[in-house]
Symmetry: C2
Subunit: 87 residues, 2 copies
């Protein structure tokens, strides 16, 4: 398993597409930010799908950590963690 | 030193404020994403400043890693890394 944080920067009218796709694998923690522990296989699947979804000028950054224990997350301001608001 | 990734989610007309503030400490790597290796003192300074800047409904997530070696970053789509475009 690997722990990943993914952040997308895509056209406004395409955010739902990426939101729905990434939520199949990860937890939605902020506007354009997702995180979670997944298998190498799922990460590979995400990569391949993203490559086919992205259009010019858009990008998704994926930070990959060997384990969740190597990272700590602190939220300043209102914690936006709620995975169901956008359903 | 600690390695941090920070992502802001703020009102559109206040993005420049956060952009300018975070770039004093970190590298701007995507729309609302910043990263870099900083001192514990700088991280503390960032935290305090953010608390005073953030308004209701806004947030900044800070991921903190003990060292850059624990994380790898992959960009899918167009690599938006350019720290000067928004100057």
């Amino acid at each position: 398993m690997v722990y990943v944080v993914a952040v997308y920067d895509v056209e406004a009218d395409r955010t739902r597409l990426f939101l729905n796709f990434l939520r199949r694998y990860l937890t939605h923690v902020q506007n354009s930010v997702f995180e979670g522990e997944i298998t190498e296989g799922d990460l590979e699947e995400i990569k391949q799908e993203l490559e086919s979804m992205l259009e010019p000028g858009e990008s998704v950054i994926v930070y990959r950590m060997s384990a969740e224990q190597y990272v700590s997350r602190t939220v300043y301001g209102e914690d936006p963690t709620e995975d169901d608001q956008f359903l």
